[in-house]
């Protein structure tokens, strides 16, 4: 497994505000970041993908493709935008660096077919960055589950149902008969 990281930069405006909070709560929780006129940052994005090295090309992933996907899915949408007003995810979610990293992961993961997304790192300033590994808080792999549209709980239920059906006498008798020969 080899890890490859590609950097990109974008500049955007944002502010932090939760409409469910009172103006005082917003001010207390978000401080200067609550200024409704917004402020901006020069963000640095680092996208790390992982995979086996292709024996023919010597690549984990075609960098040109990765760069294009990052430009199309992220930079075109985020660069020189007011995140709260122009990027769909942030019409309802607060554009913190944490939520930016998650949104970028969700934009990139389905589009990277050659390599597997490992980490999205977003620097808001050189002194502050967030890493997102596609995990929810129980440690489950978000992208994998969403791409298959099943959760681990679904899989557990399907497994339990399958075992229940196999144990039903109408099937288990036939299965036992075929197993007897195998065991001896």
């Amino acid at each position: 497994m080899v890890y490859l990281t590609r950097k990109a930069e974008f500049s955007a405006a944002h502010f932090y505000h939760n409409p469910e909070f009172t103006p005082e709560e917003n001010q207390r929780v978000f401080g200067k970041c609550n200024n409704p006129n917004g402020h901006g940052h020069n963000y640095t994005l680092e996208v790390t993908v992982k995979g086996a090295v292709d024996p023919k090309s010597g690549f984990v992933v075609d960098l040109k493709q990765l760069k294009d996907v990052m430009s199309r899915e992220v930079l075109d949408a985020f660069d020189h935008r007011f995140l709260n007003k122009e990027v769909p995810e942030f019409l309802t979610k607060i554009p913190t660096t944490e939520n930016l990293a998650i949104a970028i992961w969700q934009r990139l993961a389905p589009k990277l077919n050659a390599a597997q997304l490992h980490r999205v790192r977003v620097y808001e300033t050189p002194d502050l960055f967030v890493d997102f590994y596609g995990e929810d808080f129980s440690g489950e792999d978000v992208y994998r589950e969403e791409s298959l549209a099943v959760t681990r709980e679904h899989i557990r239920k399907i497994e339990a149902k399958a075992l229940r059906k196999l144990r039903h006498p109408s099937r288990s008798r036939k299965l036992r008969a075929s197993m007897d020969g195998v065991r001896d």
Binding site: I94, I102, D127, L128, V130, F132, E135, D136, F137
Partner: protein
Amino acid sequence: MKTRSMKAHLTRRYMFSASHRLHSDEMSEEENRATYGKCNNPYGHGHNYMLEVSVSGPVDDHTGMVCNLVDLDGFVHTQILERYDHQNLNLLSEFAKQVPTTENLCIAIYEIVKRGFHQAHLEKIRIEETMMNSFEYAGEDSR
């Protein structure tokens, strides 16, 4: 899609400047010089340390944050930077019996954050002593 808490890792960088001298009372003068070289120079020397504190946790639905940066900054300023910035590390109680290498400094800072900061889970402490060398400590049972 149902909403659930995503896990994010947040890293914040801080700077402090401090002096130290690497010297172990358990070694002879010659051994100290052989082990620590210039760092054993009797009057000590200093560094601009770059400290990285990494924490993790669920991203809060109401704030979009792992923890409020004001809380983390406040804690690090009062408990770490005020303790170490512009100080001689050798004179601090934690280095009375330990050599103030950056390894030991990493562990000391990890312990202070682990003990006192509870708004998010401490993942790791990373310190650059110079641009050429850096040290990380993530606790003993982390790997």
